[in-house]
Symmetry: C2
Subunit: 281 residues, 2 copies
């Protein structure tokens, strides 16, 4: 039994949107795969790479698509969801890949008619690299995608989003938008700030002395400043709380070093190693 | 014209010592390669891996070796150098691979007879992995090894150490012990503390939400707590200064977020990206 293919619309065909296209094509259940992007050059590259079959404006793509995924910067997602909702069929699934969920979901739910099927999403996969030229069909394999249905979310929308991400190779977890934002404030947004603060301290004359340790610890700092400014601004309160906690941890190291307290240094390093070893490479 | 092979003694045949053995064997100019380690199982694995030809006690190895490299934890290096110096020939080169240089070089120079050839060294290469089973012949290829001669260092010792590391595939830089320790406080020791402080914040229940960004930023935290306690204790003042500066940088982010100052966030992220892009992958 072969199910009919579903038309997939991807809005924003950068690294994430492009990888969704490649993963959907690999799965074989989706076609045609249509892309929307404000940058025609990006659409060209996405098409050349095989991430999308064709490109069009958002209203035209929304009219055709069974699944519409918004992969634009977080401060533009809600407006794209609402535009797509004006043109799409009643049974189309609307979802997104934004790194913040409270601001996105609240802005969408405030305006969205009840009969539209929207569920917020966030694949915990990515790279400091950008653009469809870095897209990979296996980007989501084995990674977690968080879906953030609310009491307003139709169960069918959430089931279809779960099915969609499973077909793309991802494991799916469910959280409230608030729980999602508090979790990624620690696991993603704080590391970004830490990496940027550390990278900013290096004098280029010292580049030769920055080996793999410095490079790993600061890799996130190569991320796009525009995208990340929007993310941090949308999740500022949870990030501020994590920054406070992080500074408290640093002060423990600082106090122990200041007092030549080797036992405490050893304990702090041992605890951290336990957590990191448990996490795996 | 084939020069006679030189006998190489490696004290501490873990990741660094083992890699020195493999790189020296690859070069072909050294043999036999003799290993010393307090752990007989490590010596066995180093021999099985081809890092060393044979194992013996330090006095016996020192008597035979033309070049003796001490690769033990930083708080044991000086004592191993001084033991080796008591048994080695007058023309043998004594050097080390410790991550700190002021404490090591001062402790050695205080005791070492003038006619011995010692120069401090530190290959800026490594891994959070340990042991000769993770040793690689190419670990030093293209990486910088810092040599830290002092006014007391014989020019011939420093020239021979430079030649030795060049044969192993490394680029060689020269610094005073003090300049070395201040530099690595930023490029290596601060990132270690930062990675450990961040890793320690993760609740294991959140592991599934820690993607490549968190993993990269905290990778150093998997390093050995004993080795790193000794390193941080030996370099505590420079590390404390860098921790202070780092906290100041974090506070800039914190203040900007607290005031919803997107322009400052964007500027800080853009500056950090410039430095990180310049550094390369």
């Amino acid at each position: 039994v072969t199910a009919a293919k579903e038309c997939l619309g991807i809005v924003g065909v950068g690294l994430i949107g492009g990888s969704i296209g490649l993963a959907a094509r690999r799965n074989g259940r989706y076609g045609p795969i249509l892309g929307v992007d404000r940058d025609p050059a990006v659409l060209e590259r996405a098409k050349a790479r095989g991430c999308i079959d064709d490109a069009d404006e958002l209203p035209a793509v929304a009219q055709h698509a069974d699944v519409i995924v918004i992969c634009t910067p977080v401060d533009q997602i809600a407006s794209h969801v609402l535009t797509a909702a004006r043109y799409c069929r009643p049974t189309a699934l609307l979802t997104d890949t934004g790194s913040t969920k409270v601001a996105v979901v609240e802005a969408v739910e405030k305006e969205l008619a009840d009969e539209r099927w929207f569920v917020g999403g966030h694949p915990l996969a990515g790279s400091e690299k950008r653009g469809p030229e870095n897209a990979r069909a296996d980007l989501f394999d084995g990674r977690v995608t968080v879906l953030t249905p609310t009491p307003n979310t139709e169960r069918r929308a959430s089931d279809r989003a779960e099915y969609f991400w499973t077909l793309l190779g991802s494991r799916v977890g469910f959280m409230s938008p608030d729980e999602h934002d508090r979790t990624v404030a620690l696991t993603s947004h704080l590391p970004h700030v830490v990496a940027a603060a550390l990278a900013g301290m290096l004098d280029p004359a010292q580049n030769g002395f920055a080996a793999s340790g410095f490079r790993d610890t600061t890799r996130l700092a190569a991320g796009d400043p525009e995208l990340w400014t929007a993310i941090l601004m949308q999740n500022r309160r949870p990030v501020l709380r994590q920054l406070d906690k992080f500074q408290f941890r640093l002060k423990e190291f600082l106090a122990a070093l200041d007092q030549s307290d080797a036992a405490t240094i050893r304990r702090l390093l041992t605890e951290a190693k336990g957590v990191r070893d448990d996490l795996g490479s």
